[in-house]
């Protein structure tokens, strides 16, 4: 196979954000776990309010890229900038503060605290920020209503359906009014109809608020909600030239 030859059909992913100052930018990010190179020269640029899908086979480095972008992992090489600040130049405390105030997270599994009710789970990021409990609960309540969960506030995760639990997780990601949401296979554990409903509500909410989303998925139907898609394959990020044309038009 001659797949390594340079092809004009592909550009480095960060070049696919021309002329725009990215809100979030990864440049030449490399990350290894022991001998495994999980991500190699990863490039990604996300503009404010933009939904970018990250697709690729299992084990290709999608979650590693997402964690580097979110400052959960520090890359071995390269840098990640958020709003003009280098994440690696921050202290651990500053990075976790940033994750609580500016970022939201939605994962596939086990992200709700089983002992807490739906409204407490949703309010958790606000409570960690030491907001008043009454106020935090009121905001959480409003988000649960937005996602059609009014009446289920007192239920614990074990008493919710998969789709309901996922909507609680999405509400929680939005509760702090973040500027970026990192979603890793957000509908991975759902059947298709429930997944579609959650995604419709989620993308509607982020679009109306101008929240940027990094949406990791292996599902093309999920990626189709994004304005563009980058591919990760064997730890390398590529972005088809055609994606740039689509977005520029």
């Amino acid at each position: 196979m001659t797949s390594m030859e340079a092809s004009p059909a592909f550009v480095r992913a960060d070049e696919s954000c021309p002329g725009k100052r990215g809100l979030l930018r990864a440049s030449d990010v490399t990350k290894s776990f022991g001998p495994t190179v999980a991500l190699h020269g990863g490039e990604l640029c996300v503009s404010a309010g933009e939904i970018v899908a990250v697709m690729g086979p299992s084990g290709s480095g999608k979650s590693t890229l997402l964690h580097c972008l979110a400052g959960v992992l520090l890359p071995d090489q390269g840098l990640v900038e958020y709003d003009g600040q280098r994440l690696d130049a921050m202290s651990d405390a500053e990075r976790s503060r940033l994750r609580r105030t500016d970022f939201g997270f939605v994962y596939q599994f086990g992200q709700l605290v089983p002992e807490l009710t739906a409204v407490e789970n949703t309010a958790l990021p606000l409570l960690l920020e030491r907001r008043r409990r009454r106020e935090a609960v009121a905001v959480a309540q409003a988000w649960l209503e937005t996602f059609g969960l009014a009446g289920l506030e007192k239920r614990r995760p074990g008493e919710l359906s998969g789709g309901e639990a996922q909507r609680v997780a999405v509400a929680r990601a939005l509760v702090t009014d973040p500027r970026v949401i990192f979603a890793d296979e957000p509908t991975g554990s759902l059947d298709s109809a429930a997944g579609v409903a959650v995604l419709d509500e989620f993308t509607g909410a982020v679009r109306s608020r101008g929240v940027a989303v990094v949406l990791v998925t292996h599902d093309a139907r999920v990626a189709a909600y994004a304005e563009r898609t980058v591919l990760v394959r064997d730890g390398m990020v590529t972005s088809p030239d055609t994606a740039r044309t689509v977005r520029a038009s």
């Binding site: 196979m1 797949s3 592909f10 093309a220 591919l231 088809p240």
Partner: protein
């Protein structure tokens, strides 16, 4: 595409003249308005000729006469046979995409890149359909879903094939070599 059963179904529901059939067809069955009026009128003519519909009434107040069509017994029989029987499952053998894969391999070119370009084209269409599905009514959403499911299936096939390109290459080499030995 033949409009035979679509028009029979609409006329059985309500005896109509040509323009009305076309309007109801657009509204109920074809939100993307791909079918032109002449196609509807020529199909109606054929249905009348074949005895599946007949003229129930002719009006002429001013201008051209308007003929109202109704379904015949034979028309109902054929419609029911089609409606309650299975639709032939489409084989969807991807002949174009598969042909391109083989020809790219024979040319010694990167199939992965070819598949990536195709994936992006599919994703582009899926983005449009996702927008259409979100903005439209349920009937339209259901139609968009149909296309989305099929495009998704294409993409799965692309992934499946991309993962097996090397094996296909080996098989092709074997074919090419044995063909050389024979000649």
């Amino acid at each position: 595409m033949s409009l035979k059963f679509e028009l029979l179904g609409l006329i059985r529901d309500r005896a109509s003249h040509g323009y009305e059939v076309k309007t109801r067809y657009d509204e109920l069955l074809d939100p993307t308005r791909l079918v032109q009026a002449p196609q509807v009128y020529s199909t109606l003519k054929r249905l009348e000729r074949d005895g599946l519909v007949r003229v129930a009434q002719v009006d002429q107040e001013s201008g051209p006469e308007r003929r109202t069509f109704e379904i015949t017994g034979e028309g109902e029989r054929e419609l029911d046979e089609w409606l309650w029987g299975p639709v032939e499952p489409e084989p969807r053998l991807h002949t174009v995409l598969y042909t391109k894969v083989v020809l790219a391999l024979l040319a010694g070119r990167s199939v992965e890149q070819m598949l990536d370009v195709q994936r992006e084209a599919h994703l582009g269409r899926m983005r449009e359909l996702t927008g259409l599905r979100q903005s439209g009514d349920t009937a339209r959403a259901v139609l968009a879903e149909y296309a989305l499911f099929h495009l998704e299936a294409d993409l799965r096939w692309l992934e499946f094939t991309a993962a097996r390109v090397d094996d296909i290459q080996v098989e092709l080499n074997r074919h090419v070599n044995s063909a050389r030995r024979l000649s």
